[in-house]
Symmetry: C2
Subunit: 420 residues, 2 copies
């Protein structure tokens, strides 16, 4: 069950633009049993589009074409598909009328050029566009399904889901794809793989891939299901992996770390405030990505200078002088200080060396200390994170969240200081 995706548009052949529609199209095709074997980007050139379509018709059972359905001379998808299939194109009066109404409802009269968007290939089903002007099309030629979708994702996605995928599924053999995603923090990619490879290798029908993201590792499990088959082995493998990785797994349902931490804080009716040095706001911004985070996040201080570590968080000047601003002692003092200054249940701090300058043999670029304080104890964690300035900062923010999560998991709200 081979499918392929063709994105039409010269702008995606410049250094500035990628085709990203193919990601959600692939996901939806997989769900109804089709694997994507080719993705092609082709410019606004009829001969080039025709060439790719000819190859596609010979090698794929489903072809999804995006883009090139606009009203201008550069929009060549309709006529190219018609040419390859040897079919005519005609203006559909009903579509012209709908386009006119759409323009009228916004107080415009339709430019005559937009009539081109009412061109329909002989024998094609017209797919309604609920979020834009260009209708899509669905054709079947010698058993091969061909969908034409508009380029803008907000138009392509609903049309794909509502109109195309049911038609694609009908061409399939009833197979579907079942998927699970497990999110892990605090381990490296190779540590995760070493631990779970012996487990997933005993499930030969399930494909497992490991993706390393910023501050987290994701394990993706997926398995093709024959009609009527149920994915119980997928559930078993997922459970076995979660067992083996223990508390390193923060989500087996795709939830991001900031949501998991937020939910845990809310459940315990705790609040948190942050004191950030090298990250200068990334941690606060991460925590508040979650709608409703004002229920557990008060705010905090950006202490980029030593003066503000002292004035905003009450870090003793002598402590900085004795240990340096990037130290376990200052991380702990920042956490305690921001907790008491904000009246939050928990203070969470980051101090580190983001680079590119400022590193030394003893304190290299990438060195990060995190502090966590509640009313009973203060802990810290240390790590050297790899990457350029911005990557170090992003990883430091995720590292702090992971440490906070561990802190919340530990009975009594305290975890031993970790270092690595």
């Amino acid at each position: 069950m081979r499918a392929e995706i063709i994105a039409v548009g010269s702008e995606m052949l410049t250094p500035d633009n990628l085709d990203t529609n193919s990601l959600f199209i692939t996901e939806k095709l997989n769900e109804v049993g089709f694997q994507v074997h080719f993705k092609t980007v082709v410019g606004d050139d009829e001969q080039d589009i025709v060439g790719v379509l000819r190859s596609a018709l010979q090698r794929s059972r489903v072809i999804i074409v995006t883009g090139g359905l606009g009203p201008t001379e550069d929009d060549l998808t309709r006529r190219s598909v018609a040419a390859v299939l040897g079919r005519e194109v005609r203006i559909d009066a009903g579509i012209v009328e709908k386009l006119r109404q759409r323009f009228a409802s916004r107080g415009y009269s339709m430019p005559s050029i937009n009539e081109r968007q009412a061109e329909v290939i002989e024998g094609a089903e017209v797919l309604a566009n609920t979020t834009g002007t260009a209708p899509g099309m669905w054709l079947v030629e010698n058993g091969v399904g061909i969908a034409l979708l508009p380029g803008p994702p907000r138009e392509a996605r609903p049309m794909l889901e509502k109109s195309v995928i049911p038609r694609v599924a009908a061409l399939g053999n009833g197979r579907t794809l079942a998927r699970k995603t497990i999110h892990i923090t605090g381990w490296t990619e190779s540590e995760v793989d070493a631990r779970v490879a012996p487990i997933y290798r005993s499930y030969p029908n399930i494909q497992t891939t490991i993706l390393a993201g910023t501050g987290q590792i994701s394990l993706r499990l997926f398995r093709w299901l024959e009609p009527g088959e149920n994915p119980s082995d997928l559930d078993r493998l997922s459970a076995a992996i979660c067992d083996a990785l223990g508390s390193a797994v923060f989500s087996a349902s795709g939830e991001p770390l900031e949501e998991v931490v937020g939910r845990n804080l809310l459940k315990e009716q705790l609040t948190v405030a942050v004191a950030e040095s090298c990250t200068a706001g990334l941690l606060g911004a991460l925590i508040t990505r979650v709608p409703g985070s004002s229920a557990w996040f008060r705010g905090g201080a950006l202490c980029y200078s030593n003066e503000l570590k002292i004035s905003f968080c009450g870090v003793p000047e002598e402590l900085i002088a004795a240990h340096g601003a990037v130290s376990a002692e200052v991380a702990e003092a920042l956490a305690r200080g921001i907790r008491s200054r904000t009246g939050s249940s928990i203070g969470l701090s980051i101090t580190g060396i983001a680079g590119p300058a400022g590193g030394s043999a003893e304190k290299p670029v990438g060195l990060v200390y995190v502090g966590v304080a509640n009313d009973r104890c203060t802990i810290h964690a240390r790590r050297i994170v790899p990457g350029d300035r911005q990557t170090v900062r992003e990883r430091a923010a995720y590292f702090a969240l992971a440490i906070l999560r561990n802190f919340l998991l530990t009975p009594g709200g305290s975890a031993p200081s970790s270092s690595r």
Copy 2:
């Protein structure tokens, strides 16, 4: 001068991964006069790879293949290219020795499987890999240049620049691409286009594209140059556009807004501190993306709650009660407060409604106020920015930087309050 890019790897045919190498490859190919006409992603399947290569040989003068050069059974690029060209593959003893040394220098002995990375296609030039194990290759077949590059960007990019582009250039006709990028803030895409379209239309040899990014619009101008031709019209067009857009242009050299603002602050020996409500750290994180920003950034306060607006920035409780936390009055008070609490030359504040909840008819989601205070005056600016929660927050942070830039441009450091 047609080129195409083929990315080999089944992982790029999943919903999780895109080929991004093609962006910098396109940029470099353009610079030596080649336009990219096709980009194809193909899986780890010899028949599929062979099929794409056959088409490519018929339609392109340069073919860049990335990926599939690893040591495993899944790495099929070498043998697929050899098969299409009808050439042999042999193990190169010199490369084997280099691979062994590379492993040895890290304290490992080379797994025998890695010998496959020493396979060289008959007649190919070997391209050194300075950042990884797999060497690249360059072949010419009937005048078509074919480059094989490793998949990881940090290996592909240096090999492309050092070894491939000079060989590609030698196949070209001496044309090159000249480019200019102009960054604009504070205007919408259609406002920019309405103003500059009459100008760029009178330069028919120059292609102009408008890209809308977060908080900024970019105008890209480019022009193919024949050998010996100079791009003086590109300079003239760039200057005419900058004239027409005036202070809305913040860079004609590609510099990001946070660098421009940082440079301006440094030049005037000014420092800034931030008070952030809805952005909760995004503005501080943005300012400190620039290495060395500690010279102009002290820190600031994340005042997500009203309590912290009062305690950290001294905003009068009655002011919040009278006008609401999202108001011009509170934005100005936050800016004044954070300035005085941090001893900075300038205070910069954001308060707004990021959504998805919390909006009203009077104060809708996306409403953002920015405040700026120095020792002489305080101003505010108001805008309703579109987008989802995270987009509103990111746009609010860029909006604040843009307002700060205007403030710094105005003689005496004050600009009129703007609203829109």
